[in-house]
């Protein structure tokens, strides 16, 4: 080979390496901006006032029609540090009451804006599982991610509307703070080191949401009077909606039931 060929090959190699380094730097920079706590972000539009004397509430229970499937067993043997409960949380229904259903006001709030809570919500990695399994936050609200396990995890949300990121967190490391800028329901989060670790973050623009507890119950308070569409979303069973009309100081019950597909 002559000198020109060698120079061409070496230039291509240098270009490839340069591109890689560039990608790495860009990734780092974007990651930093994604981690920026909401408090330091530009101020959002002022919240639309709500008259506290007229606010209403919705409560209810979400049920599962039919017998609950047996929870799948998780094999945690690939990491001796993982000693959590070894059953999956895909469908948890105790006595027909369905837990981990995200309930939120999908329609009816119009152009109202709401203050983002200053307090962060916490995701805890404990027993090589995420706690909670289903989480609701407002857009821009801080999420604090802790690792209470004696092993390294990586936190890897795979959103459709927000920016994807992937960070590792060793034992006793400082909490990671993140927020999501856009609305997205059932945003999956996983750990590539422990493939059974999965959870869902629900990012909405209003504070009117709840996640059903082990008894299948939820409560959404502080709603201004109006006509609303409530959505009930379960990670495996999908979404249902129901209409509800709330008068001033109303307190209504809206139940839902999912059928096994």
């Amino acid at each position: 080979m002559n000198n020109k060929t060698w120079i061409a090959i070496l230039s291509l190699l240098a270009l490839a390496l340069g591109l890689l380094v560039g990608c790495g730097k860009k990734e780092g920079a974007e990651s930093q901006s994604a981690a920026t706590p909401a408090a330091t972000q530009p101020a959002a539009a002022p919240a639309t006032p709500i008259d506290p004397a007229t606010v209403a509430s919705v409560t209810g229970t979400v049920k599962l029609d039919g017998a609950a499937p047996k929870a799948a067993k998780i094999d945690m043997s690939q990491d001796p540090a993982c000693k959590g409960a070894n059953t999956a949380e895909t469908i948890i229904a105790d006595g027909g009451n369905l837990a981990n259903v995200f309930v939120y006001v999908k329609e009816g709030l119009g152009d109202r804006t709401f203050d983002v809570p200053k307090d962060a919500v916490t995701i805890d990695q404990q027993g090589c599982k995420y706690h909670p399994h289903v989480l609701g936050v407002m857009t821009g609200q801080n999420i604090q991610i802790k690792n209470d396990d004696p092993t390294t995890h990586n936190i890897h949300p795979t959103p459709a509307a927000n920016r994807e990121w992937n960070e590792s967190q060793p034992p006793q490391a400082a909490p990671i703070e993140k927020s999501f800028a856009r609305e997205e329901v059932m945003l999956p989060v996983k750990c590539n080191q422990h493939p059974w670790m999965k959870m869902y973050i629900n990012v909405v623009k209003s504070p009117f949401y709840a996640v059903t507890g082990p008894d299948g119950k939820y409560e959404i308070k502080g709603l201004p009077p109006g006509d609303y569409t409530l959505a009930f979303v379960q990670e495996k069973l999908g979404e249902q909606t129901q209409k509800v009309t709330l008068a001033a100081k109303d307190s209504k019950t809206v139940d839902a039931a999912f059928k096994l597909q």
Partner: protein
């Protein structure tokens, strides 16, 4: 069985220029045992790397180490648990393969007199560098399906190059005079062999896109019968007409055997991963074993198709008349 018909597939006049050229090509370099053994070792190590890569994808461990080329910010061995053991092992083997490839490229350049073999060594080096870059991009860009699929396809291309170097540095390839039979059939065996490589590549990309969540499973499944038909056609043509040529016969038999194995493994992978494992909470052992075996045998199948094509090119040249374009066959008027 395929019939030769009024075959012109006979041992042609040994004085012909074409035969001389092919014979000389076959004997252009002396056999170097150490070089060959090193090439075989490199090809075997590359096969291990493909298995390690398949284990990473099958265990969804591709992003268990979020940085690259470092692992958790350093080049030291991290605690090997969970997905990290798959990803880090893959990186470690890949690093070793780069060293092996640099060595084989330099050695081939210095020791092998065949020009095409020297360039093949350099092509191996270029491919392995491209593969490393794609591996890095896969991590840094969070596994976009097209990058991960390109990583899978280039990886198997590199494996094919490593296998070709290993086979054609062997004593059999370097010291045996090629048995030559002219091919007068349409489509020619070399066309079928190249078509086999093409359909296998398409299948590889479709499979990789499915594995990396860039596409549904059905395009890969739909292309499987096409692959089966083309490969069977190629192998049967080779076996029925050119079974006297050992290099062609062995490659064709291996191609058929691997094809049958691969179809069975594909069915098994579909059942364990798509039909039964759709709701699995984590990658289960049967789905990991079947998919990794499917990837590994797929790589062997592609490499065998490449070897068959090269053997056909060496031993079964298309007869001159067939290669003359139609318009040039018209008689020239004075």
């Amino acid at each position: 069985m395929w019939r030769a018909g009024v075959s012109l597939a006979f041992p042609v006049d040994p004085d012909s220029h074409r035969i001389k050229e092919l014979t000389l090509k076959g004997l252009a370099a002396p056999y170097n045992r150490a070089h060959h053994c090193f090439a075989v070792f490199t090809a075997c190590a590359t096969f291990c790397l493909i298995i390690a890569g398949a284990l990473v994808t099958s265990n969804d461990a591709g992003l268990s180490i979020p940085d690259w080329p470092t692992s958790f910010g350093s080049f030291r061995i991290p605690p090997l648990h969970g997905g990290i053991r798959f990803e880090w092992s893959h990186r470690a083997i890949a690093g070793s393969i780069i060293v092996l490839t640099i060595s084989i490229a330099v050695w081939t350049w210095l020791a092998d007199r065949r020009r095409w073999m020297r360039w093949l060594g350099l092509a191996a080096l270029g491919t392995v560098v491209a593969q490393a870059v794609l591996g890095g991009l896969t991590v840094l860009l969070l596994q976009p399906p097209w990058v991960s699929s390109a990583h899978a396809a280039v990886g198997q291309t590199f494996f094919c190059i490593a296998v070709v170097i290993a086979v054609f540095t062997g004593r059999r390839s370097m010291e045996t005079v090629p048995q030559i039979e002219m091919d007068t059939h349409r489509p020619s065996l070399i066309t079928l062999s190249l078509l086999s490589i093409l359909v296998l590549y398409v299948q590889l990309i479709l499979g990789a896109m499915f594995r990396h969540r860039g596409m549904s499973w059905w395009p890969h499944a739909l292309n499987a019968p096409v692959v089966a038909i083309v490969l069977t056609w190629t192998a049967i043509r080779a076996l029925s007409l050119y079974s006297k040529i050992e290099a062609v016969r062995r490659s064709a038999i291996l191609l058929l055997a691997l094809l049958i194995t691969q179809l069975c493994l594909g069915f098994l992978a579909f059942m364990t991963r798509v039909a039964w494992g759709r709701d699995a909470v984590q990658p289960e052992l049967p789905m990991v074993i079947s998919t990794v075996a499917h990837v590994a045998v797929g790589a062997l199948l592609l490499a065998t198709a490449v070897i068959l094509a090269i053997q056909v090119w060496r031993h079964v040249p298309v007869s001159f008349e067939e290669r003359v374009p139609g318009r040039e066959r018209r008689p020239v008027t004075a």
